[in-house]
Subunit: 343 residues, 2 copies
């Protein structure tokens, strides 16, 4: 059993973990381990948005961003997912990951100009980027043998970690929680620059990408996921999308992962922007749909453990004010962080 | 909104609360407030135990302890409850409360001799006493207008308190949590003294009395409690009684409150002894039956608020090693803290 916080990020604490040192989780979980030389990771969401079904302009935009990803200083890993949002718009989001800020910076400015600087491409476009110091994010995986998201960049998976399967584990896995409450500061505001709207959010904004992969499940396990778990998950995702603002969730996307040709994989993830880690904690602990999901996962993983074929993972970041970038062009006003401001 | 920790017990923190300062609970709850002059409270459980149904010897024992309670330096408040335990024994427990240690001490030694010092009364008898400093215990009430247990001794109920309706609220309400993790120290051991067995437990042993009162409920609310809530509660109580030791619960009694004539009231409480507050927290947060109860209570009280007729309360103590007394005579070996030692 090891700590989720890697040894090179362990520091003298001014804040305690929520569990005692002899706490033993009821089932195994794992975290991504970067090389100690990695100081920052970059998570960059490039979205394209169109009313109704995808159009040729969407396909062109997707080809364009894929070509940029393949160019010099492009991301180490990226994937793509899509969903139809509450306003009936199709959104296709290509998410790219770097672990070298210099490479990202060298790549980003022309990519940004290409994505949101143009005129009248016939589709909405957005860019949402966090570039957290490694102290400011954590991951969690139910199995150690298939990385997703930012964890694909990691050097390895950990052994079994201690800080999980209790309320508060998410916070306890973030290295900064050793010394900082990560309280939010300020309100998001919009800056218009021609046809672009940039959102300047606030210190300690929180992002979660929380995914499930049922591609390896068979017969009864698959049925259990699709019939019992997924509808409850969807209900929670819909609540956050439609009524999240009152509980501190600026925006939520419940996305289906697609392959390079646009065909859906048997993977999905929820991606949401939060006022604070505390707001995410309160929702997770008290909203009936999430409590039900947590209870089901506890029971399921306690029983099946590593032999479960359903794979669950997440990545959670609490970003400093200067580690964020949000920019929207021709998007409807409930898109991403636009929903957090009055336009 | 006020803190559950009264101002005269607030101190410079070395440990943080689990919620931010702007946390707002979704429904109101209240705590008992003692006069600042009260330094300690005493909670003394006097049990009588017999195989099968109660006998005249039980009635005699109950009359005897009631007479002692009524004598000089007796408790300010007491009540009585009973249940049939896992070994098929009827247990009737008279619980008495003081808020003046000198009065309790003046009263206790002859009461103890009378209760466990005798010979062959034909019934098992036990005494379980905590005498915590007020820093070491907390209460919680869903309504401010009917005190139960130790709270009957309080000067008043608080206004709405902040630290509740989230996992960790129980700990955050205990004043000592401001500076102390309240980790348990050591293992319980038995000391035989003639026919008596005394249990010396360990530092930071934890006691919870958690009650419900459905006497004011009507029609649909009553049906909801009895049909939907009570069976789930009972399942959780049975788990702790039968399998609690593995999760740190030494003993659990799910008791029905009775009046002076032995007639059941429409009140019950669970009373359990725990290795640590942390063990109680883990069970409460992860055991399906309790998670279900918590979820139901959250939903119920968020909807009905103070107009709910079902009343819920609890008192939780984390006792120092020198604040405990356990003594058993002619009881079966799964009685109370006897279950925590090898005899």
């Amino acid at each position: 059993m090891e700590s989720a916080i890697p040894s090179h990020l362990q520091t003298a604490r001014s804040r305690h973990r929520r569990v005692p040192d002899d706490y033993a989780p009821p089932y195994p979980s794992f975290v991504a381990r970067h090389k100690p030389a990695v100081k920052r990771v970059i998570m960059a969401y490039f979205g394209v948005q169109v009313r109704g079904a995808a159009t040729p302009a969407v396909a062109a935009a997707l080809a364009e961003i894929a070509a940029r990803f393949a160019a010099d200083n492009g991301p180490t890993h990226w994937d793509r997912a899509e969903y139809v949002d509450q306003a009936g718009f199709t959104n296709v989001v290509s998410v790219a990951y770097w672990d070298d800020a210099a490479r990202f910076d060298a790549w980003f400015s022309s990519a940004r100009e290409g994505w949101t600087g143009g005129q009248g491409s016939g589709v909405g476009r957005f860019i949402e980027v966090l570039r957290p110091h490694v102290e400011r994010y954590e991951t969690l995986f139910s199995s150690p043998d298939r990385a997703e998201g930012v964890a694909v960049l990691a050097d390895a998976m950990s052994g079994e970690v201690q800080e999980h399967a209790y309320w508060g584990g998410m916070r306890d896995r973030i290295p900064l929680s050793q010394t900082d409450a990560m309280a939010p500061g300020g309100e998001p505001r919009a800056i218009r620059e021609g046809g672009r709207i940039r959102i300047v959010a606030h210190d300690n904004l929180c992002l979660i990408r929380s995914g499930q992969d049922w591609s390896d499940t068979e017969a009864s396990e698959r049925r259990m996921y699709l019939d019992d778990v997924e509808p409850v998950l969807r209900e929670g995702m819909d609540f956050l999308r439609d009524d999240g603002l009152a509980v501190g969730c600026y925006a939520n996307r419940y996305m289906r992962v697609v392959d390079a040709t646009g065909k859906p994989n048997e993977k999905s993830y929820g991606q949401s922007w939060w006022k604070s880690l505390a707001a995410l904690e309160r929702w997770a602990e008290s909203h009936p749909t999430h409590v039900k999901i947590f209870g089901a996962a506890m029971k399921y993983l306690s029983t099946l453990g590593p032999s479960a074929k359903l794979r669950l993972y997440h990545e959670v970041t609490v970003a400093a004010a200067d580690e964020q970038f949000f920019e929207y062009r021709d998007c409807h006003p409930k898109t991403g962080m636009l929903a957090g401001v009055s336009l």
